[in-house]
Each structure stands twice: as C-alpha cells, then as structure tokens.
C-alpha cells in the first residue's frame, strides 16, 4: 500500500456530491488550475440517463479534460473522471479505474462511500476526499475510512450547501475540521502539490 512509483498519479482528489452539488461544482471547476498535478474523480448521484450532458457541461467550465470513467482507464493528472450512471467506481492498486454494477449502497449507484473507501485503500494519506451538498447519508462512512487511512477529509460548508444534510452529517460523524465554501474548496485543491 502507498508504494509510490507504481501509479500513474501520486495523489488523488475524490469529490462526492448529491442534490445541490452541481452548483458547487460549477463554481469550483473554472477555478481549478490547468496544470493540476493530481487525479480528480467526481462521484455524483444523478438520474440513470447515460448521456454526455454532464461531461459536456463540466468540460465547458474548465480547461482540464473531463471524461466519463471507463473501466481500466489509467488515472492521468489533470483529467477529471466522472463516475458513470448506474455503476460503482473503484480504484485499483495500480491507479486504474474499475466499474462494478453490484447492488446500490445508500440507495445509490454510484455510491460515494464505495469510491471513497476503495480510493482510501489505494492512496492512503495521498487521498483527499471532498463531500458536497446532498440529502443522502452517502459519503459519511467513506470519509471515516479515508481518515483512518491517513487521508484528508474536507466538507462543503453546510451553511453554503444548497442541501445541508449530507455535509452536516459527515461533519458530525467524523469530526471534520476542514469546512469550506465552494470557492475555497477550489483553492484548496489547487494548493495540493505533487
């Protein structure tokens, strides 16, 4: 675990969000620096339509590459991977992506908990998990696992989030210290160096 050189990127940011998180992401994305030296994975709860609308919307707001995750994709720095609808997104030890269509977790597929805990097992302390607005309890358990593995956990300020429940719950369950608004979240991601 955490053996460095094996993977294509050394550090990873996983962002999870449910209802109300789209707004936060649309605020964050334009602020991300073009030479981000990290992998970025976004897990959003959304309808099952497998269309490209979300990828295109995100791509229009950032100079980074945005793509829907395919199985066996190898994480590249400066690319944002979106979990496809109706699949859980998992991380392999070599930094490649896997998909899994097993049962929903927290009524969700993709589930934020599933990606958080799988990413924590691979990236350990080099993982940052960010949880945004939502009305679901998904993400709170995953944050606990990230923390246990030495990673960093950050939550969108429930006062700013359109739906406070999900971030509030994660904060309460995990004693999260880093709580920020969307603009500051973007700055934080920019400040993570290689």
């Amino acid at each position: 675990m955490e053996k460095k050189a094996l993977r294509s990127v050394q550090k990873l940011v996983v962002i999870g969000g449910s209802s109300g998180s789209l707004e936060a992401l649309l605020t964050m994305l334009p602020k991300l620096r073009a030479d981000l030296p990290l992998g970025v994975v976004i897990v959003l709860h959304r309808n099952n339509q497998s269309d490209n609308a979300l990828v295109e919307l995100f791509a229009s707001r950032t100079s980074l590459i945005v793509k829907e995750a395919d199985e066996k994709d190898i994480l590249k720095a400066g690319t944002i991977y979106i979990a496809p609808p109706d699949y859980h997104l998992l991380l392999e030890q070599d930094g490649s992506l896997s998909l899994d269509a097993s049962a929903k977790v927290n009524f969700s597929r993709p589930s934020i908990d599933v990606t958080f805990s799988s990413a924590a097992a691979v990236f350990g302390k080099y993982l940052t998990g960010i949880l945004l607005s939502g009305a679901n309890s998904d993400g709170a358990n995953g944050m606990a696992i990230i923390k246990k593995k030495g990673g960093r956990i950050i939550v969108q300020d429930p006062n700013e989030a359109l739906v406070a429940y999900m971030p509030a719950r994660a904060i309460k369950e995990n004693d999260v210290e880093e709580v920020f608004g969307a603009l500051e979240l973007a700055e934080l991601i920019n400040s993570i160096s290689n």
């Binding site: 199985e71 699949y87 899994d100 269509a101």
Partner: protein, 270 residues
C-alpha cells in the same frame, strides 16, 4: 479485514482445491465482495475463513454465489434491446436456425427478454438460447423462470422503452410475490454451468451476449474470454457486450466492426 496478501493466498487455495480460478478478476471489486462476505459471515480471522472455505463444497458454492455480482434486470438498457429488435433480429431472421449464447446469464432476466423479443418477431420457434453461468444457484432460478413481483414495474417500463407493444403482464402469471413466466418462452432455453475462465467453446452461434461480466475481469482474462467468443461465433455473427464494455483494445478488434448506432454490438467481418 482480510489483507491483500491473504486474499491472494485464498485465491490460490481455491484454485487448487476447487479448480475455480478467480486470479484474473479485477481486485478492487473482488476485494470489496470478499470483505463483505467475511464480515457478514462473522469470521474472526483469515485462518478461520480459509479453513471453512476449504472444508466444504457446499460452503464454497455459497461463497461463489455471494462474491460474484448477480444484479440484473429484464430489458436492461432498453435502447440495447431496441437495437436488437430493429437492426439485429432482421439479419438473424434470414437464417434457417438461430443459436444464441448468453454467457454469464445470472438469474436469466436477459434470456427471457431475448425470448420475448424473438417471439414478437416471430423467430422464437426457430431459435435456441443457450444460457450459461459459473454459478449454479442463479441458473436454478433462471430455469424456474420465476421472478419477484417487486421487479415487474421496472421490467415492464424497460420493456416499453425497448419498443415492446404487447401487454407485458401477458407474459407471466402473477402469484403473490412472484411472477411465473410463460413456459412457451423457456421451452427454447438450455441452461448449463460454464466457466468462462476454464471451459472451452461448445458450439457456434450467430449471436453471443456477454453483458456486465467482463468488467469484473482484468485485461488478460478479458482477452482470453474474447478469443473464446471469437472461436464460438459464426462468420458474420454478432457479439454484444455491456454498456461500459468494449472490444476497443482487444486483439480481436480488427476482425470486428461495431454496428452503426453506438450500442455495444460488434459484427464479425468474416
């Protein structure tokens, strides 16, 4: 929690003891499933887990059932079935006899969906559907053709979106919590265990479906299984994969062309 090296040791033990080879499965998903099983069965440690696993065949079958992902539904990805109806069945209709292989059919919803569209196209009588899986338990369910009533709403919505024009409930008899599908559909099905990792080609088909199975395999195993399909497919036959699976990076890709709309269906060039 079972550690990565313990999982590797377990996979080798299972291979040696039962002849089932899971070493080509993607680790992230497999680890998650094995771990969930470990917790659910309340094992104290890896040694106890291993001992139980190697002690009884029945228990091992239970393990296989739990660690493989069996989630499925009828007319999963309705657009895919619509394409089968509109673009593929008319081609199959020109053959005197149609052989279809559902590899990794799970509890059979996919096979019944196929039987329904074949029936609606007037082709079921001259078709034979071979449905295989490595998991005996799911095959028993598939054979029975009895599915939970709670799924019927989703199934019937999917059916409509696939272009179905009949009354979906006409295909089954509702019985409390279960829907028993019409025997005329299953008459044309043959169920059998078949392990894609170790078993060989057993017939030639005009259409092979292997959906949502390859995503659980690593590249090397995917390549081997695709070769197996290539050997089992008639010339000009069709290969259908799941919505996030592809022939793109495989060695057989040059000999296939994807059909025009973007569904995951490829046709063998010769």
């Amino acid at each position: 929690m079972i550690a990565p090296d313990e999982l590797e040791a377990l996979l080798l033990d299972i291979l040696e003891h039962y002849g089932y080879d899971f070493t080509g499965y993607s680790r992230a998903s497999l680890t998650r499933r094995v771990h969930a099983f470990f917790v659910k069965e309340r094992f104290k440690n890896y040694a106890a887990f291993r001992e139980r696993m190697l002690e009884s065949n029945i228990y091992f079958i239970h393990f296989v059932e739990e660690v493989t992902v069996n989630v499925t539904e009828m007319f999963r990805d309705p657009g895919f079935y619509k394409t089968l109806r509109e673009n593929i069945l008319p081609v199959l209709a020109t053959y005197p006899f149609i052989r279809i292989w559902h590899a990794g059919c799970s509890t059979g919803e996919e096979v019944y969906s196929m039987a329904i569209i074949l029936k609606e196209a007037g082709l079921l009588q001259k078709s034979l559907l071979y449905a295989t899986d490595l998991n005996q338990r799911v095959l028993e369910k598939a054979k029975a053709g009895i599915f939970p009533m709670s799924q019927m709403r989703l199934n019937s919505e999917n059916y409509l979106h696939s272009g179905g024009r009949q009354e979906f409930s006409g295909y089954y008899t509702a019985n409390y919590n279960f829907a028993r599908f019409d025997k005329s559909l299953s008459d044309k099905m043959v169920f059998s265990t078949h392990n894609l990792v170790s078993d060989s080609s057993f017939n030639e088909f005009q259409l092979i479906l292997c959906r949502n199975v390859l995503i659980y395999f690593d590249r090397e195993l995917q390549a081997r299984v695709l070769q197996l399909f290539d050997r089992s497919l008639d010339s000009l036959g069709f290969l259908a994969l799941g919505s996030k699976e592809s022939l793109k990076f495989s060695a057989i890709a040059p000999y296939y062309s994807q059909i025009e709309n973007k569904e995951k269906i490829w046709r063998k060039k010769r």
